[in-house]
Symmetry: C2
Subunit: 387 residues, 2 copies
Amino acid sequence: MNDFMYYNPVRVHFGKEAMGRLEEELAALGTKVLLVYGGGSIRRTGLYDRVRRALEDTGKTVWELSGAMPNPRTEKVYEGIDICRRQGVDLILAVGGGSVIDCAKAIAVGAPAQGDFWERFFKNWEPAQEGIPLGVVLTIPATGSELDQSAVITNWQTGEKNSYDSPFQFPRFTILDPTLTYTLPKNQMVNGIVDTVSHILELYVSPPDGENLTDALAEAALRTEIGAARKALEDPRDYEARANLMWVSSFALCGMLNNGKKTDWASHCIQHPLSALYDVAHGAGLSVVHPAYLEYICPQAAPRLARLACRVWDVDPSGRSQEETAREGLRRLKDFFWRELGAPSTLSQLGIPAESVPRLAAGADLSCWSYRPLTREDVEAILRSCV
Amino acid sequence: MNDFMYYNPVRVHFGKEAMGRLEEELAALGTKVLLVYGGGSIRRTGLYDRVRRALEDTGKTVWELSGAMPNPRTEKVYEGIDICRRQGVDLILAVGGGSVIDCAKAIAVGAPAQGDFWERFFKNWEPAQEGIPLGVVLTIPATGSELDQSAVITNWQTGEKNSYDSPFQFPRFTILDPTLTYTLPKNQMVNGIVDTVSHILELYVSPPDGENLTDALAEAALRTEIGAARKALEDPRDYEARANLMWVSSFALCGMLNNGKKTDWASHCIQHPLSALYDVAHGAGLSVVHPAYLEYICPQAAPRLARLACRVWDVDPSGRSQEETAREGLRRLKDFFWRELGAPSTLSQLGIPAESVPRLAAGADLSCWSYRPLTREDVEAILRSCV
């Protein structure tokens, strides 16, 4: 096990009654609130009214920033920073999924800092010195952003999708009410499941390879996610299934599955240009790219992928070589993503033409660790296998 | 899954180089330090000198409270509170195992409060309003106190062993260096393993009984603990084994295994009078009491104990009734505690006479939840089965 530091100060309220804690949390924080959300879905479901009532009952002055979209963009962040600076906002409340939360996080560290948030933080990774307190009401279980210190922002001017970590991006509180996910469209639920599985695999498919608690927790999380996904597909209003999907997706990135692991993130690095250039939903892109990446590194990662196959996909290793066991596990992963969940399996299903492969490969960050360190040519080969 | 609140703000430094973070943590906190530790072991191993050097290098004024013993007592807490109040201590550093940490926690909330810490907090469970910041260097993986907000203190005047929870009892930081455990006497290592397994079981053997992430994480933690224990028994200097034992014991009580669970704690409630009246080591008492308790509730808890048997002890359920599967699992648990670890199996091995059973039963807190709610007579029956 490698040395690690673990720290996660987010206060989590989870369950059917979790929204009941919103007033209490708001009362303990600022008075001038920026409410960040996405499109109209929270208005349709009544969540918007519920949140506005809580803000009113706790006497807040509220500004709104709506339209935070998937693959959140620098423009929206600048807009939020501008409101915060002009109005002296002292609390940001994000209501939505990972894109809304990431947008709110970038505003939280960007507003109090001098100069340009993209240049300082997302481009040059300066450590932020402060942040506006942030609260979250989650509506889409997927990115884990509600429980971590990372944000990913897309810059359309430069075609970059960069991430930034700061302890000042940890939400002060996160409200996780699984019933809020009942009304999610199926494709959003599916993208969230793919994203969650992908996050856990990025952490799990890396050294150390001996027995350790972190790997055992990752296997438990994967098995729970897969089982819950099957139940939620059958009955979208199965509370236990929705609750497990929500809690696994948050737990996946709370830091516990990083502890002592090298971690990988190559699939995310390969996927990011797909979103940055074609505005592909993150989970949809991962469904195409992640299995292809794992197939590509299988000869080098066979022991680890064989362990994944046996412990998560119940592959019987007898009569199989290690690599055959590993590949059988990957076959079941693809089956789960593509057949059971109905997530996309090719670039063309994402509307991405084969000719764009070199440009996509050129945009991939190659600094991620991998059992098979990747060159630009490797990324091209992986993407070509997805055409 | 039941609703839950999860919050754990402890900053954890884990690994071979974790002690290297001590100065940095100390530098960010107070100037007048109460150093709390137990007997002479930290002097023998050189840890005392290492810690004193860090305190000196960060310019602290230091007072010492040594002699915090297993089943830490009110007297030692009063002594520490007195020093803190007279000297204006603004940081407490606990170096040791759970007893040292619990003593330090009680001092941390007791010193700034008016009146008597036992009456207000450990007897009447008033919510503390503040606490002196607390840091921890752990030497014995067992109680999980280094990562939770609980403390257990024994009052010899009244023969009570009471616990108290407060967010002000969370350590600000915890240093976990597995190499510090190489020199632990075998019985302390064994007691720690029993304690850790027992903690996880107290959380796991309770509803909800459907598939959920929390249970899956508990099973992963149990399997990791059992595997690591076997390796550490074989080679006490096996770093990976020691690292897993240390991290599982802390993880067990960080709150993740409580999430959404009813939780039980009956075995701890039955064990506490053994420590309060006979000063029995906590883990040793649990090794006797916990298996007996589970046997006693087996008819009511059979589905859950059968699941434990299959998923943790690899019992094959075919051809067995659910209760037979459950009992086979318990047989393996006892085998592990008593034969593999060599932990005690009877009250007489703990030096407790059979005649004391009624008095021990009378001292047990019966408010814990159980699949089979316990009366005084039930506790007597359980303890008589351990004679």
